[in-house]
Point group: C2
Chain length 764, copies 2
């Protein structure tokens, strides 16, 4: 029994049919007359002094309206993000391949792209730094305008030396992970439209309309009331549209203002892969100690993220890596040193998981190696150390509620028939060696202490006289189903009206105040709570009027299934009738609701504090066959048990698990950006950067655990990133189980897989 | 000394430059790809049974997408307005010339117009009723589906017979006035755009977005949350875009839904003049009695409006005529009978003045004739009877405040040098005979008791982190300057910030709840008050934060010229800094404000009650030269003194007076719709329907009187219609003064002017 009427129901997505039928207009589908097309000239070199930019030859190309460089920026050549090192257009130096140097604005895409080739760049190439550790060595050339150390974080808890002394086994390992390309179906795109009275509207594919508004303000140097940012239906993002839209939206706005025309900037796939952010590669040094009973005593981590040339979101990503790098376990003695040293490569930013997949891979390999050296079941050792309600995290945060980790372990264990399979062992079949592996992990919901400045949300709610409802929020649907989930929350919050009666408006910075970015699995939680605040206000008003209509006191009025009634009485008045009555009485039914995230804390010197308002937890298990002759890994099944607090829409929760797992499978097995010795990407296309297709999808078995988060809407906490996060870890553990080799590098390209039969055993 | 910082300032209109430069996009300027064009086939007959409509020949015309008739309406073929007699498309009968019977939707305007001619109508013509009195005679054929009596109102106050007995002079007269065409620069136009998820956006030139939303709901039969209505920049309206947009917007929406494409319906001038509403012609029977001292004792009025075939706004217009027909005077004994009988002509609706210009003409002629028979100065007799604070109107309404009538009489008298000129007399110069005449009149502000159901307003206000401001309301700028005035009220309400820091958003039914129509001079008053409600809420919040920043108590915080300070202290914090601080503290600065009009009342049996929340007053004086050979009237000067409560923008108030007076001059002298013996309009073009040009503009002398209305924003009450309303009356009185003839008919076409020298006197 769900206990709710609209929440917890697997209701169909209102946007699904139009999207499946190809009717949904994405930004590139919007055709306005007189639209100019912009194309970016990115640096061909990874590190160079720009001696001269000759735009003349491009300007004289037929159809070209303008060729713009840094000097054409009326506002500030600085993109607002965490650190002020990032420019819209390179001025004196280019510091990564693809860094925008100029934009061509022309009558057509063909003209813009052809003219782009005619811009003559005089560059003096400099040596490129390609490794974050080298970047931070003393004496290393400083490639970033504010210095190479883009970010650092630390945790110091307990007494590390003592912890290792108390350990019976100590495992060390160095783990390396690579890039992941977002591969959203719809590339980055913007359409900037100048309007009367000095206004500009910027439409586009984005996660953070308020960030884009700040970027447009910066580049144009105009006040905020002249800017309107509207998110168009977004064909995937996964974090890739959190930072770079500030750059692309800003450049589109510049093009529009300089030509006086609507200006469209839509990247082709090659430009998109070369020029926009990726998941950070990482190198993580781990040393973990446990007692012979498998109780963790100490963990020391030094982790380097490869952030590329500019900081963009790296300080936030690095911080999340720091908080999560020791896994969802009780560990009394911890030292974490996390660093990001600038390299002459594309800036890395947000990608589903936001710094955690790499450290989950590392820590979960450590846990398996501890288990192996203790001859302990891998799930058992995790269960022993798993955080429970009442425990403290490594940052000293208490967990008074909503810790569903153990339930996820049990669920995954049961679904996968873990013991049965491990006890039976896996006989080799031909060249196929089978293995099974697990991972347990967690994820702080929301922006946490690191991002609290952005962590608030506003919602607008309008009930029409016929009882149907419009609402607007500041967080976007990028395909993850935000629209559906929030609509369900509205329907529930208004007493169980039909989902058909609820319509979400496009996300538009003139409809609600700053609601932060749509990241960190915060959308449902923050916008959902803002919506419930608004619903509460309107429900109070409607209950008073309903009480008048029912001739009872407001406190006796109940609302269920969209009808008002007095408890224990027959007479029911439909929601729409009460709405109509309010309209007749001149009682307006529109309002704003607001949500401000609860306090968090962080002491940068010790890495102690209440890092996140709450966490979601998961356990994933993978069963694989490894072809020991070719190194190919075939995933046979993945069982994914996720604690989501409350599944607002169970079918969508399961779908998000399936999609995320598949994305994690790509990260684990096949997705690999090749860069040459100057840092240039060699495979910027899907024929050479391999992502999973329908033929790669294994059976995925989602399971939902609901350990309610009391401050979430109906107990929900964000979880949308978690399905991806542990997949590489459990597949790596399964491959190690199958092959006997230590897996320390992602992706698990076939050529990297070693078979060490002496380390395997058919009996465990 | 104004006492205010932004209100009461003649600040430039933010929209003016773009409009003057031709940059403002009107609805017909909006080009979306794939837009279909719709054209209406109007009935060629004034009254006919529709036997058959053969659409086939039109459908086969190249480029035609659809030919739609009543049977194609998915919702209801009934336009929501006051009475439910009005249809979108005629079904069994056509009852006025130009009544829409079908719409052709095609790839282009040419195709639509050509195909329109191919629709074959089989009509059986019926006799047409062309006079409202005949329409109401017993036995008259009923032409309207709900009967010919479209509306009636009455006032019964005191004892009429006794009143006449107490009168020393009794004047009777029959006054006839004709149509006036709105002649807005931009014709009626709509663009309906279907969207995903069953939504539709309807953009267009309109005064009442919420009326249009209701019409779209009716014709399509869809719920309100699927409808978005956006008012595009509107090139004039004057009341002509209050009712018919419901028809045209509904038809555009039908065309869009039936073709699945954006559909544009923009009327050419000929269609616009033939098919859309006009000022009601009228015939008014007056009998007015006064003592020999000029004190009014009794007034009996029977007035007929010619409403055309459907009621549309007639019940409201007729009601306003009723309330105002005896002028701004104290009269103890009154009987008014007001009737509207359906005729087979285009429905008449709102036109600046809304039923008052005709009765002002009549009553002011009566007043002049009373003055003449008593040998009394026309201004003097008006002054004697003029309503003052503390008086009661003929509906028994007390006037406790804001009665600036006497000041307007004084101002006009003084400006025009009235006595001096009348005492000097006017010698004839050649064929030119000079005269001077006056009119005093009043206007109930807002919708009054008759329209209270619509009389509320909602406003949205958002203060951005940089201190600039966005706001949205539900009433429109149709050229009258609503945007400017409301922006000034925002600027004032937020403590004197710069007008440049304020931006109004397009009027959009998804941004605010029902705010009624933009009519009845209610926009400034209702939306202004709603804005001030919102400002108050945000000011409280900001003052609290400012107090924290200034380290004082909130009650000591003052705000002036956009800066917060503690009284008597030096330190001032700019508005933008406090806004930024609120943003940092996660305190949202957006909210809605609301205004509900104060109670009014009306007893339909007696016509007694508080008819309007307040009234604005005016006195206008015209000096004319009449060519007694040709009958041409040349207006030499018009002095117009208007009590507006508070002039939010004095330059715009003066401009509105000038524009309105010119429109009144057209009504008085030259604007004349010719209909034939079947009721068909013969002169649907500006070459034959003559409106004033720049060559007709006399010197116009505006004067502003400010008798503050305590419940209006900064004391303002609406006044925008009044400049037109009395012009015909004072010109007619001046012409009568010059020629000695009794003027009883408008317009004063040259051929109608008689010269009766025996009735004139050079000495008065």
């Amino acid at each position: 029994m769900n206990g709710f009427e609209r929440v917890g129901q697997s209701l169909p997505r209102p946007d699904a049919l139009d999207k499946a039928m190809g009717k949904t207009p994405y930004v590139d589908d919007i055709q306005l007359p007189n639209t100019a097309v912009a194309a970016i000239l990115g640096s061909p070199a990874s590190h160079a002094i720009i001696r001269n930019i000759r735009t003349g030859p491009a300007l004289s190309h037929p159809g070209v309206l303008a060729v713009l460089t840094a000097g054409d920026i009326p506002g500030k050549n600085a993109i607002p993000m965490i650190r002020e090192d990032w420019t819209f257009l390179a001025e004196k130096k280019a510091i990564y391949p693809g860094e925008p140097i100029a934009i061509v604005v022309a009558e057509s895409s063909n003209a813009a792209l052809a003219a782009r080739e005619k811009i003559e760049l005089e560059l003096e190439e400099l040596p490129a730094i390609l490794d974050p550790e080298q970047s931070l060595e003393p004496g290393a050339p400083q490639i970033n305008p504010l210095g190479n150390l883009l970010s650092e974080h630390k945790i110091l808890s307990g007494n590390l030396d003592q912890g290792f002394e108390e350990s019976d086994v100590i495992i060390e390992g160095v783990y390396e992970t690579g890039y992941q390309e977002h591969a959203y179906l719809e590339p980055q795109g913007f359409l900037a439209v100048p309007d009367t009275e000095g206004r500009i509207t910027v439409l586009g594919s984005m996660q953070c309309p308020f960030y884009v508004s700040n970027a447009v303000k910066a580049i144009l140097g105009i006040p905020e009331h002249k800017i309107q940012v509207i998110q168009t239906p977004t064909g995937g993002a996964f974090g890739g549209k959190e930072d770079f839209p500030s750059l692309f939206g800003g450049l589109a706005a510049l093009a529009a203002v300089k030509t006086g025309r609507p200006a469209k900037l839509v990247l082709d796939r090659r430009d998109d892969i070369i020029m926009s952010s990726k998941r950070h590669p990482a190198r993580c040094y781990y040393k973990t100690g446990a007692t012979k009973d498998g109780v963790l005593k100490a963990c020391e981590v030094t982790l380097y993220l490869d952030p590329g040339a500019y900081a963009t979101l790296t300080p936030a990503v690095l911080w999340r890596s720091t908080v999560h790098c020791c896994g969802p376990y009780r560990i009394p003695n911890v030292k974490v040193t996390a660093l990001a040293g600038a390299t002459n490569k594309v800036p890395c930013g947000a990608f589903r998981g936001f710094g955690t997949p790499k450290v989950i891979f590392a820590m979960e390999r450590q846990m398996d190696k501890l288990a192996e050296s203790l001859n302990m079941d891998p799930l058992l050792i995790r269960g022993k150390n798993a955080l429970k309600k009442g425990d403290q995290t490594i940052t000293g945060q208490d967990l008074p509620f909503s810790v569903g980790l153990s339930q996820t372990i049990e669920k995954a264990r049961e679904m996968s028939r873990w013991e049965e399979k491990r006890n039976a062992g896996f006989p080799q079949k031909g060249s196929l060696k089978r293995g099974i592996g697990c991972a347990t992990f967690f994820y702080g919901v929301g922006l946490g202490a690191g991002g609290r400045k952005h962590d608030r949300a506003d919602a607008y709610l309008q009930i029409k006289p016929d009882g149907t409802v419009l609402f607007a929020v500041g967080t976007v649907d990028m395909g993850q189903g935000m629209q559906t989930v929030l609509s369900q929350i509205v329907a529930e919050g208004l007493g169980g009206i039909s989902l058909d009666a609820v319509q979400m408006l496009p996300v538009d910075t003139t409809r609600v105040s700053d609601s932060g970015p749509t990241v960190a699995s915060r959308g449902t939680y923050t916008s959902g709570n803002a919506i419930l605040d608004a619903c509460g206000k309107l429900m109070d008003i409607m209950k008073n009027v309903a009480a008048d209509m029912l001739q009872c006191t407001p406190s006796d009025v109940l609302l269920k299934n969209g009808r008002f009634f007095e408890k224990a009485k027959e007479k029911k008045i439909p929601f729409g009738e009460v709405a109509e009555e309010c309209h007749s009485r001149h009682i307006p039914l529109d309002t704003h609701g607001f949500f401000d995230s609860p306090p968090t804390s962080w002491d940068p010197a010790t890495g102690q504090g209440k890092a996140y308002v709450t966490y979601s937890y998961a356990t994933q298990i993978a069963e694989v066959d490894v072809d020991i002759e070719t190194g190919e890994v075939k995933v046979l099944d993945i069982w994914a048990a996720h604690d989501v607090g409350k599944a607002i829409n169970p079918q969508m929760t399961a779908a998000q698990i399936e999609g995320g797992v598949l994305q994690g499978l790509g990260y684990a097995l096949m997705e690999f950006i090749e860069t040459d010795d100057r840092g240039l990407i060699q495979n910027p296309s899907f024929s050479t950067y391999i992502i999973p297709t329908s033929k790669d999808v294994p059976p995925i078995h989602p399971a939902i655990v609901e350990s309610a988060y009391p401050e979430g809407p109906y107990g929900a906490k964000g979880f949308g990133e978690t399905p991806l996060m542990g997949v590489a870890a459990c597949i790596a553990n399964a491959v190690s189980d199958a092959t006997g080799s230590d897996i320390t590098t992602l992706p698990l390209l076939p050529e990297r897989i070693k078979y060490l039969p002496q380390n395997t055993s058919s009996l465990k």
